[in-house]
Amino acid sequence: MAIVLDALSWAMLVGGALFVLIGGIGALRMPDFFTRMHASSLTDSLGPMLVLGGLALQSGWSLETVKVLAILLFLLITGPTATYALGHAASVAGLKGGTREYRASDPREPRA
Protein backbone atom coordinates (compact mmCIF):
# COMPACT_ATOMS: atom_id res chain seq x y z
CA MET A 1 0.00 0.00 0.00
CA ALA A 2 2.76 2.42 1.01
CA ILE A 3 4.66 1.73 -2.21
CA VAL A 4 1.54 2.39 -4.29
CA LEU A 5 0.96 5.71 -2.52
CA ASP A 6 4.61 6.63 -2.97
CA ALA A 7 4.53 5.83 -6.68
CA LEU A 8 1.29 7.74 -7.15
CA SER A 9 2.62 10.78 -5.30
CA TRP A 10 5.83 10.80 -7.35
CA ALA A 11 3.86 10.47 -10.56
CA MET A 12 1.78 13.47 -9.50
CA LEU A 13 4.88 15.50 -8.57
CA VAL A 14 6.56 14.78 -11.91
CA GLY A 15 3.32 15.37 -13.84
CA GLY A 16 2.78 18.69 -12.09
CA ALA A 17 6.34 19.77 -12.82
CA LEU A 18 5.77 18.82 -16.47
CA PHE A 19 2.69 21.05 -16.69
CA VAL A 20 4.57 23.95 -15.10
CA LEU A 21 7.33 23.42 -17.67
CA ILE A 22 4.83 23.34 -20.56
CA GLY A 23 3.24 26.53 -19.22
CA GLY A 24 6.68 28.16 -19.24
CA ILE A 25 7.36 27.00 -22.80
CA GLY A 26 3.95 28.34 -23.82
CA ALA A 27 4.61 31.73 -22.23
CA LEU A 28 7.75 31.97 -24.38
CA ARG A 29 6.15 30.70 -27.61
CA MET A 30 2.87 32.63 -27.55
CA PRO A 31 2.78 35.79 -29.69
CA ASP A 32 0.98 38.38 -27.52
CA PHE A 33 -0.13 39.35 -24.04
CA PHE A 34 -3.46 37.51 -23.74
CA THR A 35 -2.28 34.28 -25.33
CA ARG A 36 0.71 34.31 -22.97
CA MET A 37 -1.67 34.57 -20.04
CA HIS A 38 -3.48 31.48 -21.35
CA ALA A 39 -0.20 29.58 -21.43
CA SER A 40 0.73 30.62 -17.91
CA SER A 41 -2.66 29.46 -16.63
CA LEU A 42 -1.33 25.91 -16.95
CA THR A 43 1.20 26.89 -14.29
CA ASP A 44 -1.73 28.22 -12.29
CA SER A 45 -4.13 25.28 -12.38
CA LEU A 46 -3.09 21.67 -12.99
CA GLY A 47 0.57 22.38 -12.08
CA PRO A 48 -0.01 23.25 -8.41
CA MET A 49 -2.94 20.81 -8.19
CA LEU A 50 -0.65 17.89 -9.04
CA VAL A 51 2.42 19.11 -7.15
CA LEU A 52 0.56 19.93 -3.93
CA GLY A 53 -1.60 16.82 -4.29
CA GLY A 54 1.58 14.76 -4.52
CA LEU A 55 3.01 16.50 -1.47
CA ALA A 56 -0.19 15.83 0.46
CA LEU A 57 0.14 12.12 -0.35
CA GLN A 58 3.78 12.21 0.80
CA SER A 59 2.86 13.67 4.20
CA GLY A 60 0.28 10.96 4.98
CA TRP A 61 -2.71 11.70 7.20
CA SER A 62 -1.54 14.56 9.39
CA LEU A 63 -2.05 18.25 10.00
CA GLU A 64 0.48 18.95 7.26
CA THR A 65 -1.87 17.35 4.71
CA VAL A 66 -4.67 19.69 5.69
CA LYS A 67 -2.29 22.66 5.47
CA VAL A 68 -1.04 21.64 2.03
CA LEU A 69 -4.63 21.26 0.79
CA ALA A 70 -5.48 24.67 2.30
CA ILE A 71 -2.56 26.20 0.42
CA LEU A 72 -3.91 24.60 -2.76
CA LEU A 73 -7.38 26.01 -2.07
CA PHE A 74 -5.99 29.52 -1.58
CA LEU A 75 -3.86 29.26 -4.71
CA LEU A 76 -6.87 28.18 -6.75
CA ILE A 77 -8.86 31.18 -5.50
CA THR A 78 -6.18 33.88 -5.54
CA GLY A 79 -4.58 32.76 -8.83
CA PRO A 80 -7.59 33.50 -11.06
CA THR A 81 -8.30 36.66 -9.06
CA ALA A 82 -4.81 38.02 -9.76
CA THR A 83 -5.12 36.91 -13.39
CA TYR A 84 -8.41 38.80 -13.62
CA ALA A 85 -6.77 41.98 -12.27
CA LEU A 86 -4.05 41.71 -14.89
CA GLY A 87 -6.36 40.85 -17.80
CA HIS A 88 -8.92 43.46 -16.83
CA ALA A 89 -6.25 46.18 -16.68
CA ALA A 90 -5.02 45.17 -20.16
CA SER A 91 -8.56 45.08 -21.51
CA VAL A 92 -9.46 48.49 -20.03
CA ALA A 93 -6.27 49.94 -21.50
CA GLY A 94 -7.54 48.80 -24.90
CA LEU A 95 -5.02 46.06 -25.62
CA LYS A 96 -6.23 43.80 -28.42
CA GLY A 97 -3.34 41.70 -29.70
CA GLY A 98 -4.46 39.39 -32.47
CA THR A 99 -7.90 38.99 -30.92
CA ARG A 100 -11.10 39.34 -32.93
CA GLU A 101 -14.64 39.62 -31.68
CA TYR A 102 -16.54 36.34 -31.56
CA ARG A 103 -19.10 35.73 -34.28
CA ALA A 104 -21.26 32.62 -34.20
CA SER A 105 -21.50 30.70 -37.46
CA ASP A 106 -25.26 30.23 -37.00
CA PRO A 107 -26.57 29.31 -33.56
CA ARG A 108 -29.77 27.69 -34.90
CA GLU A 109 -27.96 25.35 -37.20
CA PRO A 110 -26.18 22.45 -35.48
CA ARG A 111 -22.50 22.43 -36.34
CA ALA A 112 -21.14 19.57 -38.37
Binding site: T35, M37, D44, T83
Partner: protein
Protein backbone atom coordinates in the same frame (compact mmCIF):
# COMPACT_ATOMS: atom_id res chain seq x y z
CA UNK B 1 -27.64 47.56 2.25
CA UNK B 2 -30.13 50.34 2.87
CA UNK B 3 -28.18 52.59 5.17
CA UNK B 4 -25.40 54.94 3.99
CA UNK B 5 -22.17 53.06 3.41
CA UNK B 6 -20.03 54.69 6.07
CA UNK B 7 -22.43 55.09 8.96
CA UNK B 8 -21.67 52.64 11.79
CA UNK B 9 -24.11 49.74 12.19
CA UNK B 10 -26.91 50.74 14.52
CA UNK B 11 -27.95 48.76 17.57
CA UNK B 12 -31.16 47.61 15.90
CA UNK B 13 -32.43 44.10 16.41
CA UNK B 14 -30.56 41.54 14.39
CA UNK B 15 -32.39 38.82 12.55
CA UNK B 16 -31.92 35.15 13.36
CA UNK B 17 -30.15 34.71 10.04
CA UNK B 18 -27.63 37.38 11.07
CA UNK B 19 -26.74 35.44 14.20
CA UNK B 20 -26.52 32.21 12.23
CA UNK B 21 -24.16 33.90 9.78
CA UNK B 22 -22.07 35.26 12.63
CA UNK B 23 -21.72 31.93 14.43
CA UNK B 24 -20.89 30.18 11.15
CA UNK B 25 -18.15 32.73 10.50
CA UNK B 26 -16.82 32.32 14.05
CA UNK B 27 -16.82 28.54 13.63
CA UNK B 28 -14.90 28.86 10.38
CA UNK B 29 -12.33 31.21 11.97
CA UNK B 30 -11.87 28.85 14.91
CA UNK B 31 -11.43 25.82 12.66
CA UNK B 32 -8.84 27.72 10.62
CA UNK B 33 -7.06 28.83 13.83
CA UNK B 34 -6.88 25.23 15.09
CA UNK B 35 -5.60 23.86 11.79
CA UNK B 36 -3.00 26.59 11.35
CA UNK B 37 -1.64 26.47 14.90
CA UNK B 38 -2.10 22.78 15.75
CA UNK B 39 -2.28 23.74 19.44
CA UNK B 40 -4.70 21.91 21.71
CA UNK B 41 -3.72 23.33 25.13
CA UNK B 42 -6.76 24.92 26.86
CA UNK B 43 -5.01 28.25 27.53
CA UNK B 44 -3.85 28.67 23.92
CA UNK B 45 -7.17 27.53 22.48
CA UNK B 46 -9.06 30.03 24.62
CA UNK B 47 -6.65 32.77 23.52
CA UNK B 48 -7.35 31.72 19.93
CA UNK B 49 -11.09 31.83 20.55
CA UNK B 50 -10.64 35.30 22.02
CA UNK B 51 -8.78 36.55 18.95
CA UNK B 52 -11.44 35.05 16.67
CA UNK B 53 -14.11 36.90 18.67
CA UNK B 54 -12.16 40.15 18.29
CA UNK B 55 -12.01 39.64 14.53
CA UNK B 56 -15.78 39.02 14.47
CA UNK B 57 -16.28 42.19 16.51
CA UNK B 58 -14.17 44.21 14.09
CA UNK B 59 -15.97 42.79 11.04
CA UNK B 60 -19.31 43.61 12.66
CA UNK B 61 -18.21 47.20 13.15
CA UNK B 62 -17.10 47.34 9.53
CA UNK B 63 -20.47 46.01 8.42
CA UNK B 64 -18.97 42.90 6.85
CA UNK B 65 -21.67 40.62 8.20
CA UNK B 66 -24.58 42.85 7.14
CA UNK B 67 -24.76 41.48 3.66
CA UNK B 68 -25.79 37.95 2.89
CA UNK B 69 -23.18 36.37 0.65
CA UNK B 70 -24.81 32.97 0.85
CA UNK B 71 -21.59 30.99 1.21
CA UNK B 72 -23.14 28.87 3.96
CA UNK B 73 -25.87 27.57 1.67
CA UNK B 74 -23.32 26.93 -1.07
CA UNK B 75 -21.19 24.68 1.13
CA UNK B 76 -23.14 21.40 0.75
CA UNK B 77 -23.30 21.78 -3.04
CA UNK B 78 -19.60 22.64 -3.30
CA UNK B 79 -17.96 19.15 -3.45
CA UNK B 80 -19.96 18.05 -6.51
CA UNK B 81 -19.17 21.32 -8.29
CA UNK B 82 -15.48 21.05 -7.42
CA UNK B 83 -15.33 17.53 -8.81
CA UNK B 84 -16.91 18.68 -12.06
CA UNK B 85 -14.63 21.75 -12.20
CA UNK B 86 -11.53 19.61 -11.56
CA UNK B 87 -12.52 17.40 -14.49
CA UNK B 88 -12.95 20.46 -16.74
CA UNK B 89 -9.60 21.87 -15.57
CA UNK B 90 -7.79 18.61 -16.38
CA UNK B 91 -9.40 18.36 -19.84
CA UNK B 92 -8.66 21.97 -20.79
CA UNK B 93 -5.12 21.69 -19.42
CA UNK B 94 -4.43 18.88 -21.86
CA UNK B 95 -6.08 20.83 -24.69
CA UNK B 96 -3.94 23.92 -24.10
CA UNK B 97 -0.80 21.83 -23.52
CA UNK B 98 -1.36 20.23 -26.92
CA UNK B 99 -1.73 23.66 -28.55
CA UNK B 100 1.48 24.89 -26.89
CA UNK B 101 3.51 21.83 -27.89
CA UNK B 102 2.27 21.60 -31.48
CA UNK B 103 5.07 22.57 -33.88
CA UNK B 104 2.86 25.04 -35.72
CA UNK B 105 1.28 27.24 -33.09
CA UNK B 106 -2.34 27.32 -34.34
CA UNK B 107 -4.15 30.09 -32.46
CA UNK B 108 -7.45 31.79 -33.11
CA UNK B 109 -8.03 34.10 -30.12
CA UNK B 110 -11.55 35.51 -29.83
CA UNK B 111 -13.32 37.79 -27.36
CA UNK B 112 -16.73 36.61 -26.17
CA UNK B 113 -19.49 38.33 -24.20
CA UNK B 114 -21.21 35.89 -21.87
CA UNK B 115 -24.52 36.63 -20.14
CA UNK B 116 -24.20 35.28 -16.57
CA UNK B 117 -27.09 33.11 -15.38
CA UNK B 118 -26.11 33.87 -11.76
CA UNK B 119 -27.82 37.10 -10.71
CA UNK B 120 -25.80 38.17 -7.66
CA UNK B 121 -22.18 39.43 -7.52
CA UNK B 122 -21.04 36.36 -5.57
CA UNK B 123 -22.23 33.96 -8.25
CA UNK B 124 -20.74 36.09 -11.00
CA UNK B 125 -17.40 36.18 -9.19
CA UNK B 126 -17.45 32.38 -8.84
CA UNK B 127 -18.29 32.07 -12.55
CA UNK B 128 -15.53 34.50 -13.57
CA UNK B 129 -12.91 32.72 -11.48
CA UNK B 130 -14.02 29.29 -12.69
CA UNK B 131 -13.69 30.47 -16.29
CA UNK B 132 -10.21 31.82 -15.62
CA UNK B 133 -9.17 28.67 -13.75
CA UNK B 134 -9.83 26.49 -16.79
CA UNK B 135 -6.97 27.19 -19.21
CA UNK B 136 -7.98 28.50 -22.63
CA UNK B 137 -10.60 30.89 -21.30
CA UNK B 138 -9.83 34.10 -19.42
CA UNK B 139 -12.29 36.51 -17.81
CA UNK B 140 -11.15 40.09 -18.45
CA UNK B 141 -14.23 42.03 -17.40
CA UNK B 142 -17.48 41.77 -15.46
CA UNK B 143 -20.12 44.44 -15.86
CA UNK B 144 -23.83 44.30 -14.93
CA UNK B 145 -23.98 40.54 -15.28
CA UNK B 146 -22.04 40.44 -18.54
CA UNK B 147 -18.67 38.74 -18.63
CA UNK B 148 -16.04 39.55 -21.22
CA UNK B 149 -14.05 36.40 -21.84
CA UNK B 150 -10.89 36.01 -23.89
CA UNK B 151 -10.70 32.57 -25.51
CA UNK B 152 -7.63 30.96 -27.01
CA UNK B 153 -9.59 29.24 -29.80
CA UNK B 154 -12.97 29.49 -31.48
CA UNK B 155 -13.71 25.94 -30.26
CA UNK B 156 -13.09 27.04 -26.67
CA UNK B 157 -15.45 29.99 -27.14
CA UNK B 158 -18.21 27.73 -28.46
CA UNK B 159 -17.71 25.32 -25.57
CA UNK B 160 -18.08 28.24 -23.17
CA UNK B 161 -21.18 29.63 -24.90
CA UNK B 162 -22.86 26.24 -24.69
CA UNK B 163 -23.25 27.44 -21.10
CA UNK B 164 -22.61 24.28 -19.11
CA UNK B 165 -20.43 26.07 -16.55
CA UNK B 166 -22.78 29.07 -16.53
CA UNK B 167 -25.76 26.89 -15.57
CA UNK B 168 -23.82 24.91 -12.99
CA UNK B 169 -22.53 28.03 -11.22
CA UNK B 170 -26.05 29.52 -11.19
CA UNK B 171 -27.35 26.30 -9.63
CA UNK B 172 -24.45 26.26 -7.15
CA UNK B 173 -24.96 29.82 -5.87
CA UNK B 174 -28.77 29.83 -6.02
CA UNK B 175 -30.29 30.94 -2.71
Amino acid sequence: MNRPANSPPTARRRSARYWLRMSATLLLFMAVWLVWSGYMKPLLVSLGLLSCCIVILLSTRMGDLEEETGWLGVLPRLPAYWLWLAREVVISNFTVARIILSPRLVLDPVMVTLEADAQDPFGQAVLGNSITLTPGTLTVGVETGRLRVHCLTQAGAEELLRGDMNRRVAALTRR
